[in-house]
Point group: C2
Chain length 119, copies 2
Amino acid sequence: MADFKAEYLACPIRQVISRFGDKWSMLVLFMLHKSDTGTLRFNEIHKLMSDCSQKMLSQTLKNLEHYNLVHREVFPQVPPKVEYSLTETGKSLMPSLLSLVDWALQHFDDVVVKDIVRD
Amino acid sequence: MADFKAEYLACPIRQVISRFGDKWSMLVLFMLHKSDTGTLRFNEIHKLMSDCSQKMLSQTLKNLEHYNLVHREVFPQVPPKVEYSLTETGKSLMPSLLSLVDWALQHFDDVVVKDIVRD
DNA sequence: CCATAATACTCACTTTTAGTAACCTTTTTG
DNA sequence: CAAAAAGGTTACTAAAAGTGAGTATTATGG
């Protein structure tokens, strides 16, 4: 039983979900991926994801930086400039993430439309 | 601006995350996928995911049923028997989900191990 | 020369969501 | 006659997320 628990707690999908399975992380990664230059500034991301508060965006970026999916570069200017980009590890996640996006596109009608229509 | 907002709100990855990007949904789908028979009973899932409360498991299963990813079959017995399985839509999500699991396995060390060691 | 703007945040507070532990139902078993 | 079994629900508490205002520094406009 204890062995099972240890195995379960180490379950990779559980580990991933507990770290990046929140409301905003994947979306930030996706936005950075879609960016032409590969980089985005704080307020650019915020404009792209207008329903994510500054506070949550800040927390999300910190978290992604901590887990080495996102690189943060500060330019010592006034007003400040901070650029975010995907790390190599972050880039390596993209095929899987895009696969999920494809699924979402293909099954949008099955799953999502009824809710949107209801609004 | 309003146009952008509409497009953003319809963004498929956003739609998917808002519905199945919670703490337990993907894990339930994965457990049903791994099951030999393709079906699991409520308490079987609960034993497999012992840190998910009955309440949250119940909510998660209802949600997954609502979005047609999971099928719920009640057998009129006492004590009751309820079997859960993936629908065709649910099954169609598995390749993408498994791709994410693969990534998690490959990058476990990069991302996760430092946290586990810290505990 | 004082107000405003720009950027990338943080802080205090409220609301929403998740977690905990107890309870419910019916019937069989000890 | 009490306990167990399955699949939940309910009331309560804790944690997380959302909201709106505020912070720092410097340049620009009137």
